[in-house]
């Protein structure tokens, strides 16, 4: 047996298998690569089946492999056509899409025919080259179908060749075209013509497929079918760059634009080509401007960042920055101009915004300056007001000093006349300057009493004046025996209490603590409180001084069973000039200063004072605390 052709098939299997893998490994994200992979795989499988059908010793198995090889052949034809359609960029065209669908269907039908009948190939017969199937009834149809698809493929490659202007792509398409045609010729001769003439009975299609794959490989790897060509890059750049590209000829007519230009200006490609360049430039003197630009171009060879306005088809003006250069052929002759326009409306807008912002800042600055001036003025006025205030304060201080002096003088002036009054009344009452009748004595007693009252009033007024000027009470502290003091005051008050039949009781324990305080002030405090109680206690009532001592302080209460206080008035009784019931106080006399002075004395000593009463008619008590240690 001669296995030469079987080995050729095996070689075809290996070659196409490796090519399929290589292409996919190189880039699997590309449809073309996938199609190449599919048809190269089909070729590989076809060759494998052909090889197996030739070397198998069993006729049935040879027949099976033969049918299988036909199926792979049909798919190979389909995929290679598909590949050519995609390469020629015709895939989007309706005719080709339809053709691909039709051939897909026919491929399926032929598959079915191959598997179910012997119309294409008869049962193989053993030859000196191994098993070989004889052509069947419809072999001619099958061969014609194959030739049709190959021719369509070749036509696509021809179209590809015509459509590209990159020399590399032209070479590539040429190689593909030659490969397809040579392969077809080999197949036709070996499988159709020679068998029909009875000269040959072995299929040469494996050789044809090897030629196919060899040429395709050459196209791909030598001419970079799947690599990026400079023209692809240029096209891609031109059509993706965000600038308007216009190429004009020597007559300044537009000969080429990019897609962005069409999009921005709103023209169709066929409308814009041939238009004079000046028709795209806005403004009345666009011709003049074009002339100037063209002069500058021929003088310097380029124009950089010239600001002008382009006019869209709809009549809108777009501010642009233009770069222009001459388009030269390889001998240095000018063919036209290349103009690139950059849309600067955003920049203009930004500049306008910036200008506005600067204006706003300037205005703000002016406002701030004026505010600053106002502030300075206000400050000056405030300074003046402060000075005035200071002067007023000085004046007030002077007035205050005058007032103090006045008070001192008043004190002197008021007390001075009382001195002889008190002196003489005492002398009269003691009978040391002549004996008085009882009536005379009573009259002198009234004078004495009212004199004392007047003196008390003067003292109170002076104290309150001093208090209202915030001058603190000055204390001269020394040990004070409260109990002794209380008893002494009881004696002093006894005549007055006796007249109204009021009893005064001192219920302080003998061991009541000695406290450190100002004796004059404490005497005044107790005198005021006792006087107050006597004043508000009706005839036959009781006034009691009680006390309790704690660790640090003592509490003393002056309790009476007099007219009492309403709950609301418990706080108010310590206010200056406050009088609970004016009709009653008018009856008993007083100006409402006694308790206010008491409060000050107690608080200056660091104690607290409060009024206690269960209500009107239920008696009242004034309780105060004093620190033992002063």
């Amino acid at each position: 047996m001669n296995y030469t052709f079987a080995i050729i098939s095996l070689f075809g299997f290996l070659l196409s298998g490796v090519a399929a893998m290589l292409v996919l490994v190189r880039n699997y994200r590309n449809l073309l690569n996938w199609l190449f992979f599919l048809y190269a795989s089909m070729v590989a499988l076809f060759n494998l089946c052909d090889f197996l059908s030739k070397i198998t010793p069993y006729i049935a198995r040879s027949r099976f492999y033969n049918d299988l090889s036909v199926i792979f052949w049909l798919w190979f034809l389909f995929f290679v056509l598909h590949f050519s359609v995609v390469l020629a960029n015709k895939y989007s065209k309706k005719m080709w899409t339809t053709l691909i669908a039709v051939f897909f269907t026919t491929t399926i039908i032929f598959n079915w025919i191959t598997l179910r009948t012997t119309w294409i190939y008869l049962t193989p017969v053993l030859t000196e080259w191994g098993y070989s199937a004889e052509p069947g009834l419809y072999f001619g149809v099958f061969a014609a179908y194959s030739v049709l698809l190959v021719l369509l493929t070749a036509w696509n490659f021809w179209l590809t060749r015509q459509n590209v202007d990159d020399i590399r792509l032209v070479h590539q398409a040429n190689v593909l075209l030659v490969g397809v045609l040579v392969g077809m010729c080999i197949g036709l001769i070996g499988d159709v013509i020679l068998p029909l003439l009875g000269l040959w009975n072995v299929t040469l299609v494996p050789i044809a497929t090897i030629v196919y794959i060899a040429f395709f490989g050459l196209a791909m790897f030598r001419y970079g079918l799947l690599s990026i060509s400079p023209s692809t890059v240029a096209n891609s750049v031109l059509n993706t760059m965000p600038n308007l590209l216009v190429v004009t000829d020597l007559d300044h007519n537009i000969s080429m634009v990019n897609e962005f230009c069409l999009k921005v200006l709103g023209y169709q490609e066929k409308e814009i080509i041939g238009l004079p360049m000046k028709s795209l430039i806005a403004g009345e003197n666009s011709s003049l401007l074009c002339g100037l630009i063209s002069q500058e171009l021929s003088r310097k060879g380029f124009v950089k960042e010239r600001r002008l306005q382009l006019k869209t088809r709809a009549g809108l003006d777009i501010p642009v920055s233009m770069d222009a250069s001459r388009a030269l052929d390889r001998f240095g002759n000018q063919l036209g101009c290349v103009l690139i326009f950059r849309d600067v409306s955003d920049i203009e807008k930004l500049l306008a915004q910036q200008k506005e912002a600067i204006d706003e800042l300037t205005r703000t600055k002016e406002r701030m300056l004026s505010i600053l001036e106002d502030t300075t003025e206000t400050r000056d006025r405030a300074d003046e007001a402060t000075k005035k205030l200071a002067r007023a304060y000085e004046d007030l201080k002077a007035v205050d000093k005058m007032k103090t002096e006045f008070l001192s003088v008043v004190s002197h002036e008021l007390r001075t006349p009382i001195t002889p009054i008190k002196g003489y009344t005492s002398m009269l009452l003691s009978d040391s300057i002549g004996k008085l009748s009882e009536e005379q004595k009573r009259a002198v007693q009234v004078i004495q009493k009212e004199g004392d009252h007047l003196l008390g009033l003067i003292d109170s007024v002076l104290d309150v004046s001093r208090m209202s000027y915030g001058r603190p009470l000055k204390l001269a502290k020394e040990p004070v025996l409260i109990r002794t003091l209380a008893q002494e005051l009881k004696e002093v008050m006894a005549p007055e209490a006796g007249m109204r039949n009021i009893s005064i009781e001192v219920e302080l324990p003998p061991d009541f603590p000695t406290i450190i305080a100002d004796p004059t002030k404490i005497r005044r405090l107790l005198t005021n409180l006792l006087g107050n109680s006597l004043k508000f206690t009706p005839k036959g009532g009781h006034v009691t001084i009680t006390g309790a001592s704690g660790q640090d302080e003592v509490e003393i209460r002056v309790v009476d069973d007099g007219i009492g206080l309403a709950r609301d008035n418990l706080e108010k009784v310590f206010d200056k000039f406050y009088q609970v019931d004016s009709s009653y106080t008018r009856a008993v006399g007083g100006v409402g200063l006694g308790l206010a002075i008491c409060k000050e004395i107690v608080e200056t000593h660091g104690g607290k004072i409060r009024a206690i009463s269960d209500g009107l008619g239920k008696g009242a008590a004034i309780a105060f605390t004093l620190p033992i240690g002063g």
Binding site: T416, G423, M427, S430, K474
Partner: protein, 125 residues
Amino acid sequence: MLSRGERKKVLVIEDHAPTADMIGQLLDMIDLDFSLAPDGPRGLELAVTVQPDLILLDIMMPQMNGIEVCKALKSSPRTKHIPVIIVSVRGSNDMKIAGQEAGAVEHVVKPFDPAELIKIIKKYI
């Protein structure tokens, strides 16, 4: 009874005439001789000429106040031995201290109880 010539002498320096009269009557009641001076300068003069056993001195007076008068009395060798009692409406602690510093022995606040004043006068006579 002491004869008039043997009676102790008190000089009253007081600008308020009714008060001065009242004090005079009080002093007479307890058998004391007295001289009255209506202001400081005349008081100082009388203190030298009369050579009293005690001086009752007001503070608030025209021309010289009592503290100044007291200082003057205490600075003169001819009068500095005479005890001075201040009798004044000014009864604050400050004033009492000022009086003490000027050399006064007592401070009686006006209006006073006549009996009280007598008691104090008797301490020094």
